[in-house]
Symmetry: C2
Subunit: 151 residues, 2 copies
């Protein structure tokens, strides 16, 4: 599951490695304004959903839903329960195929608009980052084939 | 495939009925700035992707990809070939589960940001609307179970 896969460095500078699901590498977006996970299918040469084979499209959607649960858990643990999940696969800036699962709260900084390109990210402070990472990994730990990233 | 399904009127006022796929009702967003289809699963009581059963999540993703091809065809027919597809399922304003498949062009009104909530929609003029609808229906006509909406 790594045929020609190389993570675009843009993800490394904006997010933290949570771990790997069966298809996707999962990262926590380093923006304390939102509980937000990014999924990057671990296959080379993908930029559109149509580039995934049919089986992997289904896997991707299942992993998006798993990450939705993890996002809810992160929001809950940080005292900001999620009102709505947002999913997006845009790729206008970073072309490598990836999906965003974002926990939204009524009245958050971008509500009801999308989060992408709105304002400046606020990096996590240390205790909240640790909480978010621990909770995200714990929420994904029961997923088939989940492998947490080393700290 | 209509257990308790009723289309939110918000879709009717902003888009045109293209037809039905196996799972989703498909509409053309009435915004001539972008080739843009909206998919609404024809089941009642859905607001999140997790509300779909596993089989329907896979169907939804397949239909998103089908609509991506249709969006490319619409862009091409209107003389504005698509550089990138954007997919989003937000639902912050209209809660009924739906997905957007938007054809983006480098330098379009919102590029590289998301289209949602950016500027004012520009309704189609008649000839382009007819072209877009015809091309969208034609592009989906080979999809299993596609049924075009009456004009």
């Amino acid at each position: 599951m790594s045929l020609g896969f190389a993570l675009d460095p843009a993800f490394v500078s904006t997010s933290w490695a949570v771990g790997d699901l069966g298809l996707c590498h999962v990262r926590l977006q380093d923006d304390a304004r939102y509980a937000w996970l990014v999924l990057i299918p671990r296959l080379g040469g993908l930029s559109e959903l149509e580039d995934l084979c049919e089986a992997d499209r289904s896997r991707f959607m299942q992993e998006v839903v798993l990450c939705g649960s993890a996002v809810r858990a992160v929001g809950q643990a940080l005292g900001r329960p999620i009102d709505k999940l947002n999913f997006g696969a845009l790729g206008n800036v970073t072309a490598q195929l990836h999906g965003h699962v974002v926990g939204r709260r009524r009245g958050d900084d971008a509500w009801p608009g999308p989060v992408w390109g709105q304002g400046q990210a606020i990096p996590y402070l240390s205790p909240d980052l640790q909480t978010a990472m621990t909770v995200a990994r714990s929420a994904l730990s029961d997923a088939p084939g989940f492998s947490p990233a080393p700290d």
